[in-house]
Every structure is written in structure tokens, then in C-alpha cells.
Amino acid sequence: MDVFLMSLPTILKTMVMGAVPILLASLGEVFSERAGLVNIGLEGVMAIGAFVGFAIGKMTGNLWLGLVVGMLAGIAVNLLYGFCTVTLCADQVVTGMAINILAPAIALFGYNLFVGSNPANATGDQMASLAIPGLANIPFVGNAFFNQTLMGYLAFVLVPLVWYFFKNFRFGLSFRSVGENPQAAETLGINVVRVKYLACVLCGALAAAGGAFLTLCYTPIYTDGIVMGRGFIALATVIFGRWSAVGVLGASLLFGFFDGLNVALQAQFQAAPVMFFKMIPYAFTIVALLFFGSKHAGPKANGKPYFREMR
């Protein structure tokens, strides 16, 4: 058991690092689903964010510019999703699947061109992690929570902001109403289509930021499939985070913890059948859905197209 205690600080470190991409993607999905758009294509948007962030960061040397351009690329891809689902009223699941197949292909194609032109482009550099002076050396927990990259801190700071937005902002109220009952929102003069498109922009930006974190802070390279199913886990996180920013934070950290546990077990018990450790994060998602998932059904008009002039 002592091995477990000894590796706990590192598990917490992995937990926090692992939670950030999922947190960002699921915050984006909270905006999207609050406006009634279930976006299955998070995985694809994260892949685009990861590649563009990496490429621009490497090309210009300025990682923050890479992040911003990555988010813009994510917005562009998600607007394609928005056009199909909001304007054309296409099926949201179907369009999401299409994005999941198209976006990673574009990212891989771009990567081949980017690295093909100059092999040195393969590895980029990383955002430095900033230890908050006082807190970082709290034993046991300090290093995990207070020795993160600036982008990591920003992701966590975003949670209270999003909570505040939905709770106290006029526009937050309008946002929620579009997801619950678009007809009612329309009669109160809220432009439902504009809110849905704005939700697509926010979801695209945040999901791409989640992807960019993988290549700008977590690892120095981009590989095809770097997202590794995190987009789908973000979808599950939104459900058992009860469509709220704080709930999603908790769920992301929980998932990050199980990811860390999986790595710790593989590090210490090398001869064991490690495949079962690898299953832990995914099995946990199902179990969590089983216990928290069903009751709260989420926004009423979630996933339904909105035909403006319904006779």
C-alpha cells in the first residue's frame, strides 16, 4: 500500500494535467448543449486545435499565438458543424460523426505537409510551468495543483467565469432558454439562430484549446490520434457534470485521477496484465454514467433542430 501513497503526488499531478484538455472540451460542450446542440465532433475539433496550435507555435515560436490560431481553426471547423445543424437542420449526431472523420484527416494532411517541408518541425517546444511561490511547495499536494502551465491555470480560472456567466449574466439566461425552449426564447425577442451559432463558436474555440493544450503543454509533438478518445470522454463528463461548469470540473478531475491511477499501476506493477489498467478510465466513465447519468436529462430541446417558421 505504501507504493500507492508514494505515487499519489504524481497521480495528482497527472490528474490535474490530464483534466485540463477534457475540462476545456467539456466547457465548450456545456455551451453547445445549453444551446441545444449535441456536438459529437469534439474529437475532431480537438485534433484540429492540437495540430494548428502545434504548427503555428513551431512556425512563429510564439506558443500563445499558436493557441489563438488553433482556437480560430477550431471555430472554423465547428462553424461547418453549425451551418449543417442550425441552418440546414441536419441531424446533429450524423454531422458530428462527419466532423470526427474529416477534421483529424485534415490535421494529419496538414501535419504531413508541415513536417514534410522541414523535418526539424517534428518537435516543438513547450510552455514552461509556473510554480506559484508559496503554494507550490506544500508537501504532497503543492506540486500537483500549483506547479502547472499558465494555460492550465487559465483553464481552471475559466470554470468560475462560466458558472458566473450562466448564473448572473442576462445573456447567460438567454443562452439557457434557447436550449430549453427555443420557441419561448423566440417570442421574447431572443435571436435563437444567433445564440446557437455563438454556442458553436465558443464550443469550437474551447475544444480546440483543449486539443492545443495537448501539443503545447503536455507533450512536445503532434501525432495522429493524439486526442485518444478525450472528445468522447468530454461528452460523458458533461452528462455526469449535470451540464454545469462546476460539475464538469469535478468530473474532469475525477477522470484525470483514474487516468493517473492507470499510469501509476503500470509503472509499479510491470509484470501484471497492464491492459486491464488501461481500461480503468473508460470503465470508470461507464460506471459513473450508470450512477449519475440518467436522472437529469439536461436541456429539454437538446439535440432537436429548430425550424424557425413552424406552421
Binding site: A90, I106, A283
Partner: protein
């Protein structure tokens, strides 16, 4: 539907619903050609190589059909599930578990010959069905969204397969199972394995079950309106569960056929990867018609074998083929949605009327 005198807009609806996928394919190929041209390569030569590589001669055709076989199975799996309103994105996991079941039965039980083949296929069907039953029960009892549970089960199946080919039946410690005994393999047929024929036949059978049996009728009704189905006496929960199990069984059978039909006849890293999502895309483009799904799966198989050929002849990255596939799906999705929009429909009807009035004036 005898004496199918289609009304004007029904005929228009039918032509549009056939036209959309065809236009999406052509549009995607055109954009693919533009990308290839921007890379300084000759797209016409590339597409020529693609066709040559996939349909050039008898051996190429059989290889293309062999590559399309798993896609037909996962395509039918997604089609059958969607017909009942069930978003089964777990085709890949069920496919893999089918393969694992076959390997366990044949290698574990040491059964050779046709008995091994039959039991192997049966095991694939049963375990594939069970792997889809899990999300089904969760959906029925706890109302869990099956999209997420099926995807999580994909990853769990992937790592379970890893356990099978690394720990249970590894070939002298190598990360792959021992090859399936020759006597238990699927017989050859015109350069490829008989599984391909099985897949195509299954497409027709699934079409028949869905459109020409009372069970299929009920499945379709539950898919379109579960509440009305329940009010009119259909056992909705049982039908949804059956839809899960049957679609899982189809994917499981696909896994067994792929293992017993195709070189290297072993489970190894990367077995079944990517077939799940492709199956979903195929079902969508085929607008849930099983026979159209077979055709679209063969098209996807052509893109894969042809794409590989194209890459070796004009040296373009294979990612282009993924982009073309992605574009086909996006255009198909957008196209199908557009023709349903009231505005577009009105535009089409009065364009047709204005043509008629011109003709009669």
C-alpha cells in the same frame, strides 16, 4: 408496393435521395483532385491509378472486395441499429469482440476443421451480440445515452483484445496470436474468401428482414415513433434490445469473418481499427438502405485499395483519401438535410411548375 404510381413530388424525392450521395462522391473527388493538383501531382493520373489499383484486374477486384467486406458488416450493423432509432457507435468494439471470441473458441478449444469454423463464426455472432446487449440494457433500464457507452466499450474491447493476443494465445511471446489453423479458415472464392459473398448476401437478407417482414416493420416503426409504437401494442423495449443484439451480432460476425478469411489470420495490434466509424458513415450515406450500404461499403473499399495504389504511384500522403472520405460524408449529410428543408423543396416544386407552365404556354 404494387402499381407504384409515385406522385410528382415523391418521384422527385426518390431521385433526389439517390442523387445526393452520388453528387457528394463526385464533389469530394473533385476537391480531392484540386488538393492533389496543388501538391504538384497529376490528379487524373492519380485517379487512374486509383481505379487501376482497385478494379484494374481480377486479383485487384477480389482484393478490393476483401477490403470492403468488414465495412459491409459494420455498415449493416450501424444501418440495422439506426433503423430502430438506436445510435450504436460500438460497431468497432463488437467487431473486435467477435474476432476475440472466434480466436478463443478455436485456439482455446483446440477445435480444427469445419467444426472449428462453424463454432468460431457462431461464437463471433453470440459475443458480438452480447457486447451490444450491455449498452442496450443500460439504455432500457437507466435511460443511458448509448452513444457514449458504446464508444467507451470500443476502447475496453480494444484492450481486451490486447490481452488475448499478448497473454492468452500469443505466438511465442510475439504481440499476435498464433495463426488460425488452415482447416478452420474460410474457403477461397475467386481470389478472395467466401466471407465476401456472405457479406453481400447478408446485405440482401437484412434488406429483406427490414422491409419485408413484420419484425422489420415493427423495428422501423419503433425507430420512427417509439411512443405510437407502444400505444399500438409493440413491445418497444424488447425490440430496441433486439436491435442492439442483432446489430452487435452482425458486427461480431464481421470480426470472425475478417479473422478467418484474410491474411494474416491472426489477431494483432490494429485488428478492426477504423471499421466502426466507417460503418456509421456508410450507414448514413446509404440513408439506412442495407443494399445501398453494401454498395457504399464497396466504394469505401475502393477508396482504400485505390488510395494505397494512388499513393505509391504519384506519392501523395494517404491522408488525402481520409479527407475525400470525410468530404463525402459532410456533403452527403448537408445534401440530405438540404433537400428536406421546406424552402429548398418549395423552390424545387415551383421551378418544376414554371417549367410545366412554359411547356404548356
Amino acid at each position: 408496393m404494387a402499381k407504384k404510381e409515385l406522385s410528382a413530388e415523391e418521384r422527385q424525392e426518390r431521385t433526389l435521395s439517390i442523387l445526393t450521395p452520388v453528387v457528394s462522391v463526385l464533389l469530394a473527388l473533385v476537391i480531392g483532385a484540386i488538393i492533389v493538383a496543388c501538391l504538384g501531382k497529376n490528379p487524373l493520373q492519380g485517379y487512374g491509378a486509383m481505379l487501376q489499383g482497385s478494379w484494374g484486374d481480377a486479383s485487384k477486384i477480389s482484393k478490393t472486395l476483401e477490403r470492403s467486406c468488414p465495412l459491409i458488416f459494420t455498415g449493416l450493423c450501424a444501418t440495422f441499429a439506426y433503423k430502430c432509432g438506436v445510435f450504436n457507435l460500438g460497431g468497432e468494439g463488437q467487431f473486435i469482440m467477435g474476432g476475440c471470441a472466434t480466436a478463443c473458441v478455436i485456439l482455446g478449444g483446440g477445435i480444427e476443421g469445419p467444426a472449428g469454423l462453424a463454432l468460431g463464426l457462431l461464437a463471433g455472432i453470440v459475443v458480438g451480440g452480447i457486447w451490444a446487449l450491455i449498452p442496450g440494457i443500460m439504455k432500457i433500464t437507466r435511460g443511458l445515452n448509448e452513444m457514449i457507452t458504446t464508444i467507451m466499450l470500443n476502447y475496453i474491447a480494444l484492450y481486451f483484445m490486447e490481452y488475448v493476443y499478448k497473454m492468452m494465445y500469443s505466438d511465442q511471446g510475439l504481440p499476435k496470436t498464433v495463426a488460425m489453423p488452415k482447416s478452420a479458415r474460410l474457403a477461397d472464392l475467386a481470389g478472395t474468401h467466401v466471407g465476401v459473398l456472405l457479406a453481400v448476401v447478408l446485405g440482401v437478407v437484412v434488406w429483406y428482414v427490414i422491409f419485408r417482414t413484420s419484425f422489420g416493420f415493427k423495428i422501423r416503426a419503433v425507430g420512427m415513433n417509439p411512443v405510437a409504437s407502444r400505444v399500438n401494442g409493440f413491445p418497444v423495449k424488447r425490440l430496441v434490445l433486439l436491435a442492439f443484439v442483432i446489430s452487435g451480432a452482425i458486427a461480431g460476425l464481421g470480426g470472425s469473418v475478417e479473422l478467418l478469411g484474410r491474411t494474416p489470420y491472426r489477431l494483432a495490434d490494429g485488428f478492426g481499427s477504423g471499421f466502426g466509424f466507417d460503418g456509421v458513415a456508410i450507414a448514413l450515406i446509404a440513408q439506412l438502405n442495407p443494399i445501398a450500404a453494401v454498395v457504399v461499403a464497396i466504394l469505401f473499399g475502393t477508396l482504400s485499395t485505390g488510395g494505397t495504389m494512388m499513393q505509391s504511384v504519384i506519392g501523395v500522403p494517404t491522408a488525402i483519401m481520409d479527407i475525400i472520405r470525410g468530404l463525402i460524408i459532410i456533403f452527403a449529410v448537408a445534401g440530405m438535410a438540404m433537400i428536406k428543408l421546406p424552402k429548398i423543396r418549395a423552390f424545387l416544386t415551383n421551378r418544376k411548375q414554371s417549367k410545366k407552365t412554359e411547356a404548356s404556354a
